[in-house]
């Protein structure tokens, strides 16, 4: 091999080595650039998810009812029956509107007591949510909030009623302010573990609006003009009695016991009251 050929061969090898080195450098640059970019962006994404999660949680987490409960079922008219199977008397009907501040107070002060009495078999409870606040008597957004609350409560599965109703009252919008947005109503269902796409459709499509209207008409037919209205065996409790229950929830138990005794003595073979 001549000297010039050897020199040419060495130059070629050097050139080839430089070319390979340049390729390796480019490849290394690309890998380092892409991976470090992904790493930094991933950290940003994780932080963003955590921040969004924390801010969306805020104080709007659903409130679960964890106390004693009697079996719950939804009746054909949309009302909720909470009663032990063998209990036929007395029947306590609660007419309520989720936008009504007094109903919220009733739930806060007496709600758990009512549920516990039903769980002990001392009363049949029928919850009758309806839309008390209607246009044109009330200005928007009050009627819409009231209607959305009632619709969502009717969309919720019966066994989740205690927690969902409790949550609706807990986050009741201030009268005259917007609230019960679809997103909140759905998030609460998620919190309580009963969210389904069907529930979402029911809420966003106001699919129980017909039942809300029927309940509202029924309440009007029963001369219910305010909320909360409490009826024991079909008889409305006076304002004074309701106030007394507000002040002392245990008085409800005495009232119901008295009512059960008087019904039993008036009718030796009681039958279930028709709802």
């Amino acid at each position: 091999m001549s000297k010039s050929t050897r020199q040419r061969s060495a130059r070629e090898r050097l050139a080839e080595e430089r070319r390979r080195q340049a390729i390796r450098d480019k490849q290394r640059k690309l890998i380092v650039g892409v991976l470090s970019g992904v790493l930094v962006a991933a950290v940003v994404v994780v932080v963003a998810v955590l921040v969004v999660n924390r801010s969306s949680q805020s104080d709007q987490k659903a409130v679960a009812y964890t106390g004693p409960l009697a079996p719950i079922s939804r009746q054909s008219d949309g009302s909720i029956l909470m009663s032990k199977q063998d209990v036929t008397q007395p029947t306590l009907e609660i007419y309520e509107d989720f936008q009504c501040p007094m109903c919220k107070r009733f739930e806060e002060r007496v709600g758990d007591k009512v549920k516990s009495l039903a769980a002990k078999g001392k009363v049949r409870v029928v919850y009758r949510p309806f839309q008390l606040f209607k246009a044109p008597d009330f200005q928007e957004p009050v009627p819409s909030v009231s209607r959305r609350g009632a619709n969502a409560a009717m969309c919720a599965p019966a066994d989740h009623w205690p927690s969902y109703a409790k949550t609706l009252f807990a986050y009741q919008p201030e009268e005259g302010k917007e609230g019960f947005a679809d997103k909140e109503l759905l998030n609460w269902a998620r919190d309580l573990g009963f969210y389904t796409p069907a529930f979402e459709s029911c809420v966003t499509g106001a699919q129980k609006a017909g039942d809300v209207d029927k309940s509202t008409q029924y309440a009007a037919a029963q001369n219910v003009t305010g909320t909360p209205t409490l009826k024991v065996n079909g008889q409305p409790l006076s304002q004074e009695t309701v106030q007394q229950i507000f002040g002392d929830p245990s008085s409800l138990e005495q009232l119901l016991t008295k009512s059960a005794t008087s019904t039993a003595s008036a009718s030796p073979s009681p039958s279930a009251s028709k709802q």
């Binding site: 991933a42 994404v45 994780v46 796409p197």
Partner: protein, 162 residues
């Protein structure tokens, strides 16, 4: 003038990706499209049931209906569908042959975005304490596509004239 030594390599008409790489990428993209389509249909049609085993930690519905299931109001399955569609187009033979930076960087940007969505959803699953098997399948496909597209780009660099 020397023509045989240190001569610039003649630029090829276009980069040719190994066949196996094109086939694997194409298969993964099609699988991703199929899964994303299914999840999108389930999202919009309540009559279609999401087939998924359910246990304390494995629960597809809890994830696909969680507050993390939409980004700026767009359901994630739809974003997944767009991702796989875009990646499918960017991996068609004409796009692979092309050396246009827009297509090359677009392809890389696409898989990087995909990996970031995987990070987002995994973070969401950790927060929720639930794992969605369909989502996991999408995650695996996306990470594999990221590796394959990056591999393709490294091969392209090795193949390109210096």
């Amino acid at each position: 003038m020397e023509t045989s030594e240190a001569a610039p390599r003649v630029p090829k008409a276009g980069y040719t990706q190994p066949r196996w790489l094109s086939v694997v990428v194409g298969t993964l993209v099609l699988a991703g499209l199929a899964i994303s389509s299914y999840l999108a249909v389930v999202h919009y049609n309540n009559d279609v049931v999401l087939v998924c085993s359910k246990s304390a930690t494995i629960d597809c519905e809890s994830v696909t209906t969680s507050k993390f299931s939409e980004l700026a109001g767009v359901p994630l399955p739809v974003l997944g569908l767009l991702f796989f569609l875009a990646l499918g187009v960017l991996n068609l033979p004409f796009a692979i042959r092309s050396s246009r930076p827009l297509l090359r960087w677009g392809r890389l940007a696409c898989v990087v975005a995909g990996v970031l969505f995987v990070v987002y959803l995994v973070a969401a699953e950790i927060i929720l304490g639930k794992i969605c098997l369909w989502c996991t399948a999408i995650h695996v496909l996306t990470v594999l596509l990221f590796v394959l597209v990056l591999t393709g780009e490294l091969r392209r660099i090795a193949d390109s004239p210096q």
